[in-house]
């Protein structure tokens, strides 16, 4: 179930490259298929084009070469995006922030109130509906940002280093929350990170990228069984996987 290679891709990239008008070549010849239901991590050094790749997958910017192939399912409105910063509207309450995607889709408040309440509760935000972003901690803001992405019940969830700015403790907890939700809802996740440990802990597959222009250096299935929890972090087969991938990454940098 957890995104073996046989699953039909929800979205695929075919020889995608991106050269910005400034002349910077961010990506070159990216071929990749995101399997439906998979948890795929993009792992690579800073500046290798991970964010650019994610924005291309989301359709926010066009590739300059190659093409984006959409799978059978219609993704319009069913795509969740979580930015590196929480990116909340400071003038709006937690509830209003999470309501935003539904409001833009023309949904009435009372029709979606139950769904919003449920989403907030599943991220431990119950009771903070009327708080403003400035009244929340960094970790809670990130949870709101994730709640906003989840409330549309996305088929494809794109996360751009969502936990990079958080302390390790909070990051671990949010990792586990995210895994739990992913297993319950069967979304497809593409997760950008530059933490080896985080990517091994979460992913069913890791794509290691080279420095700019970014290419896919290695495509590694992680065959640690789900559900995974905190205990895994100290398990020898987990640390073994991390060591293997760290090795690959330093090879990529060389």
């Amino acid at each position: 179930m957890a995104g073996g290679r046989g699953d039909a891709p929800i979205i695929a990239l075919d020889g995608v490259g991106k050269r910005f008008r400034s002349g910077v070549e961010a990506l070159a010849g990216i071929d990749l298929a995101i399997p439906a239901g998979g948890f795929v991590s993009l792992l690579g050094p800073s500046g290798c084009g991970k964010s650019t790749l994610l924005r291309i997958i989301a359709g926010l910017i066009p590739p300059t070469s190659g093409r984006l192939v959409r799978g059978a399912s219609d993704l319009s409105g069913r795509l969740g995006f979580v930015f590196q910063e929480a990116t909340l509207m400071p003038w709006a309450t937690v509830w209003q922030n999470v309501y935003l995607p539904l409001r833009l889709a023309g949904k009435r408040r009372d029709a979606v109130a139950a769904r919003i309440a449920e989403t907030l509760a599943s991220l431990g935000l119950a009771g903070f509906e009327q708080a403003y972003p400035r009244e929340l901690s960094g970790g809670m803001r990130m949870r709101v940002s994730i709640a906003r992405a989840l409330v549309t019940e996305p088929l494809l969830l794109l996360l751009d280093e969502p936990f990079a700015a958080l302390d390790e403790f909070t990051r671990f907890r949010l990792n586990e929350d995210l895994l739990r939700l992913w297993q319950r809802h069967h979304w497809t996740v593409v997760f950008v990170t530059h933490s080896v440990f985080e990517s091994v802990f979460l992913s069913s597959r890791i794509l290691v990228m080279t420095p700019r222009p970014g290419r896919i250096l290695a495509d590694l299935p992680i065959d640690l069984p789900y559900p995974r929890d905190g205990a895994l972090r100290t398990a020898p087969h987990y640390t073994e996987q991390c060591r293997r991938i760290s090795g690959l990454l330093s090879e990529a940098m060389a």
């Binding site: 989301a58 409105g77 995006f81 509207m89 003038w91 935003l100 833009l104 400035r134």
Partner: protein
């Protein structure tokens, strides 16, 4: 000392020192009141002439507020139009700047001649010209300051132009607009007074500027000072009201008006 007490006490102390110095200067140098009236004499005149000056103040205030309202409506609308069409912005913005940098005393006579039978309107137009630019400039800046990632998020969820404006650009612009508004409030008053100065006295329903001119001609310095004092107080009141309004509208989220950290 408590910060709150200081905020009121410190400027008050400066004011008190100033008035004392003023009084001392007038007494020691035996200044005649047609050169520099003492503070007591000015206060007395204000008390006596207050009612008659108040009518003129209302005229000035009406022009000021009407000009400010027009600046808000037209300035705000223009800023929104600018964000919707880059071409429109490119073609109109330079003229807004020209209007802004041309001294109002130079344009006022023309406007007063062109609108010769409509004194109120001509003064209003002059005050409006002075007041509208800060609103256009600040609101435009605000409308274009939306967080890039939020813009992407809105696009991702298929937001229409209207939704983008209503739920993202306008709320982003609100603090900028309010800054413009506070500047424009003072400018509208200045514009109203300057325009009336240029228009000269005469007519029945005239504002404070006419009272100041009259008093000047007749060397009634205490009355002139009283009118000036009234004008300054009005300016401060306008600023205070607009500041209070800003506070009310954005205090729950914007950094500029957040209460000190607890």
């Amino acid at each position: 000392m408590n910060a709150r007490v200081a905020r009121i006490a410190a400027p008050l102390a400066v004011g008190l020192l100033f008035v004392l110095g003023w009084d001392l200067l007038v007494r020691l140098e035996r200044m005649p009141s047609y050169v520099l009236p003492g503070p007591l004499l000015v206060a007395e005149t204000l008390w006596r002439d207050g009612p008659s000056l108040l009518g003129s103040l209302l005229v000035t205030l009406r022009i000021t507020l009407a000009a400010l309202a027009a600046a808000v409506v037209l300035g705000g609308a223009l800023a929104i139009l600018f964000t919707q069409s880059r071409l429109l912005e490119l073609s109109l913005f330079p003229y807004a700047v020209i209007l802004q940098v041309t001294p109002i005393v130079a344009i006022a006579p023309l406007i007063i001649i062109w609108l010769k039978d409509r004194v109120f309107l001509s003064l209003l137009v002059c005050a409006w010209i002075v007041a509208f630019f800060p609103i256009v400039a600040n609101t435009s800046l605000g409308l274009n300051s939306a967080d890039r990632n939020l813009v992407d998020l809105f696009r991702l969820y298929g937001a229409s132009r209207w939704q983008m404006l209503r739920y993202l650009r306008l709320p982003t612009a609100l603090p900028y607009f309010l800054t413009g508004l506070r500047i424009s409030g003072g400018l509208a008053l200045i514009g109203a007074v300057v325009a009336e100065f240029v228009a000269g006295t005469g007519g029945t329903d005239t504002g404070l500027a006419s009272r100041i001119l009259e008093a000047g001609y007749r060397l009634q310095m205490p009355r002139l000072f009283a009118a000036l004092l009234l004008l300054a107080a009005t300016g401060i009141a306008i600023f205070a009201v607009l500041s209070w309004l800003s506070q009310r509208l954005i205090s729950h989220w914007h950094e500029s008006v957040l209460p000190p950290e607890e």
